[in-house]
Amino acid sequence: MTQYNVRLDAFEGPLDLLLHLINRYEIDIYDIPVAKITEQYLEYIHTMQELQLDVASEYLVMAATLIAIKSKTLLPKHEDEDYVHQLEMDMEEDPREELVRRLIEYRKYKEAASYLREHESKRSLTFSKPPSDLEHIESKQEPVNPVSNITIYDIVGAFQSLFDKKRTKKTPQTKIDRQDIPIDKRMREIVSELRFRKGRQTFQNLFPYSSKDHMVVTFLAILELMKTRQIRCKQSENFNEIVIDLMEEDIS
């Protein structure tokens, strides 16, 4: 039952895979050697199939497209046609043109996405604060309608964003990439949390997020910290709260 979803997830689709191959083999996007790229592409698909991955239909459609383009470029030129026809042939689209257009278009947004990613991580470095409660400031002209300029949709919106907020707080990793919460990082977090809490925290409170992976990593981190004698766990009796203490030597 081993799954290799991670490898499949590494690509965002057939266009992404093609771009990867183009970069890897330093291919000029405007002059793609179709035979070579088709070969590489199919090899990748075969590998995926060998790994018993569920190859999405989009990848197979692209494989068919590549093969179609390849066969078109291989077609022998008609030599017995008259000159006008020959001209028409020359004017005909390069069979690769549509694919190149799509690749370039997709690449644009892939780059735009990485720009957004940069902004996202930059933004995560700063904090703002929620608006202050000004209820204590009495307005001199009390409005007749206490909810003027609020609609029922503001109520709905408030309710939704409340739950969204709660949800995002609870699950800091929506797409869990295990690399993102390495155990030693979580171990350091726990130690500094304990330091901040004057060396003591309850077991339960070390699980701030309800994401399964975060909890598992936290649990493993606690076990590891116990093993390396950085923390001590105490439970006065069965079913009581487990209390985690930072070992004294470490505080200094």
Binding site: F127, K129, P130, P131, S132, D133, L134, E135, I137, E138, S139, K140, Q141, P143, N145, P146, V147, S148, N149, I150, T151, I152, Y153, D154, I155, V156, A158, F159, Q160, L162, F163, K166, R167, K170, T171, R195, F196, S210, S211, K212, M215, V216, F219, N238, F239
Partner: protein, 200 residues
Amino acid sequence: MTTRIEQKAVIEGLLFVVGDEGLEGKQAADILQIETLEAEELIQEMMTDYQAEERGIEIVEIAGAYQLTTKAKHISYYERFVESPTTSSLSQAALETLAIVAYKQPITRAEIEDIRGVKTEKPLQTLSAKHLVKEVGRAEGTGRAILYGTTKEFLEYFGLKSKEDLPKLPEQYEDDSIEDEADLFFENFESVMEPNDKGE
């Protein structure tokens, strides 16, 4: 090694972030990895700095913790702000509380606080004073906590025929799958810890 100036900057940022939960001298000291006394001294200095004419906020000490507030002498500007038509007539806290009461009524204050994650006494007072929510009964069990619901006026202001007339929420807000997952984990965890008690 951070300079005193930098340390002050960090404290300002910390005070800004903690809001009205306040920051204790010891907390500031831990974060800056300096002595508590040193941190207290820095904060006292900053209190003086903030008295400068060009500052609109100041540090106050409330219940052993420091927090930022606006200056009392500027009150007339905040009154103008509150009255300005672009300013929402309910605070975010009151709006959130009202939304919860509207959709989850009848509901106790403790339950509202559970959802919001913060104390909700003041917003509930505001909403009662504005006749938007009222007591609709008492919860069963010890304590018999007050149950809140929306008022007739609430329906009138928003032009609703009845409580059932509230717009339906998207399905995603109904499910509790995330919480379930957490519960599942702790359940499993407990059953590992106490295998004898669970007849497995």
